[in-house]
Point group: C2
Chain length 224, copies 2
């Protein structure tokens, strides 16, 4: 699908789409030497580097070392550092934040929020993984050069907030939440607690402390 567009050396922004057909696991017929590494596995290692050091703080040397590949391989497979980051964030959202989608499937608004915040607290304090959340540690400030990155992360977080708002709106319709409850406000509050917990986790707060915060936060939810 993407293949026919590009041939040979391509413009920087095109490389990503060009390669995407194989990166995403679709084993189309290939010519030439096959790639010597698993692009998704390498992306998982890149996720951890960005997660721990942020976008700016993660150098290409850090990244390629962790990914076990060299620089040209990274550029061929992902395009450039920013594209690598975007793909890392997308994969992080799909796998490491799967609990968020699961929470939406809970039968009540309260159960949804409770499961989301507790699973979030778990994810923020997983042993063997960086503390905190890639979506926040990745980069808050930006401005001069990497403002795009901060905006991308903000949009990514906002998308999750809106999904939660839709779930809560349904709860209001169903009478599960009191009429007059603003789902957007409530969703924003929940995400605010989640993001604050991420800041605390990055600073070293342990899981028990995050749970204690969640318990208090849940008291703010409106009950029918």
């Amino acid at each position: 699908m993407y293949r026919s567009v590009w041939k040979g050396t391509v413009a920087p922004s095109g490389i990503f789409l060009y390669r995407a057909v194989r990166i995403s696991g679709v084993t189309a017929k290939t010519r030439g030497r096959p790639r010597g590494f698993d692009a998704d596995a390498a992306l998982d290692r890149a996720i951890e580097v960005f997660w721990e050091h942020g976008y700016e703080g993660a150098s290409l040397a850090d990244l390629t070392d962790a990914m076990g590949i060299n620089r040209p391989s990274m550029y061929a497979a992902y395009g450039n550092k920013e594209e690598l980051f975007r793909r890392a964030v997308a994969r992080y959202a799909e796998y490491d934040m799967a609990y968020a989608r699961e929470a939406l499937a809970e039968p009540t608004a309260y159960a949804t929020v409770e499961k989301f915040l507790k699973a979030n607290a778990d994810a923020l304090t997983q042993p063997g993984r960086p503390a905190g959340c890639l979506s926040i540690q990745g980069g808050l400030a930006g401005g001069s050069d990497n403002g795009q990155v901060a905006q991308f992360l903000a949009a990514s977080r906002l998308a999750g907030e809106q999904q939660l708002a839709e779930r809560l709106a349904r709860a209001v319709d169903e009478g599960d939440l009191p009429a007059g409850t603003d789902p957007a406000d409530l969703a924003r509050y929940v995400m605010t607690v989640s993001e604050g917990n991420a800041v605390h986790a990055a600073a070293g707060a342990d899981r028990a402390r995050l749970y204690a915060t969640v318990e208090i936060a849940l008291r703010a939810l409106p009950r029918t």
Copy 2:
């Protein structure tokens, strides 16, 4: 007091203390050419650069341009980039976060938390200043080189949390909060909301939205 220790060219870490006697506004007798700029005013400009771009994202060129001085003057006055940042954060905590100390003087725990969160929301969305909070935007991730910076900021935030916890402990003693309320947990919750609001503000949330979050957050406070 500090002066007699150092003479002429000094070790990097010593410069800060050496100059501190005049930076802090104490006009001791000086020899040699007087400084051509106001060190505190320059620090205020540095605060905004760090606030907007973070520690890593703020280059020396950005900083000295904003401060209106050249590089050697910066090094002579503050020591190095990290010391400049620490002094910026200290000044930020003293002036830009004065509302936090004022909130502690409110007569009740509820009023303290309400004032703190609302004044915080105001500070996060001041027109003409960077959105968000230096204590968080300054740098969350760290790790390789600037791990010290992230730790310093975390310690700074924790100090505020502990002051709030002390105020809430007093409220429990006074019967203003229900017996059995854990002041540390409650203080952490309040700071969590504040930090989450900072993340939202950095992403562009306006003041009204932060206020709506605060209104919901206040519902979690225990009432006697």
